[in-house]
Symmetry: C2
Subunit: 84 residues, 2 copies
Amino acid sequence: MSIFNYFRTKRAPAASATTAKERLQVIVAHQRGQRNQPDYLPRMQQEILEVIRKYVPVDQEDVQVQVDDSDNCSVLELNVTLPG
Amino acid sequence: MSIFNYFRTKRAPAASATTAKERLQVIVAHQRGQRNQPDYLPRMQQEILEVIRKYVPVDQEDVQVQVDDSDNCSVLELNVTLPG
């Protein structure tokens, strides 16, 4: 299944008469070749957020951050609800 | 299914004796509230790549870019194969 299908299935229910909330989701997945490679996702996360803030005003409480770490793969997920 | 499961299922086959390639995948999904909202993903894409370049040396040919646009959702996928 390609990532695009993932987002198609995940989409919010059909936009009702009132406009649906605008959302932005950023995912960074880092698959390391060896185990001891540095994990720079936490620092990269903050800088990606600053890039997003150049385009849309985002308050910290509008950003949900999830990080999943396993043996050689880290996945960072930022969910941003944008001002409607 | 959460995005983390997506990446777990998608992972490369078990790393053989030689080290697996290091990869970075960045996905930005923008779900617009209304149809005519501006789509800033193309410009954001370049800036996110520049953030990544601060952490790892990345040549343009090591970056695959895929964009999927439908009625109110745009998904940008950057696949970066990092120097092994």
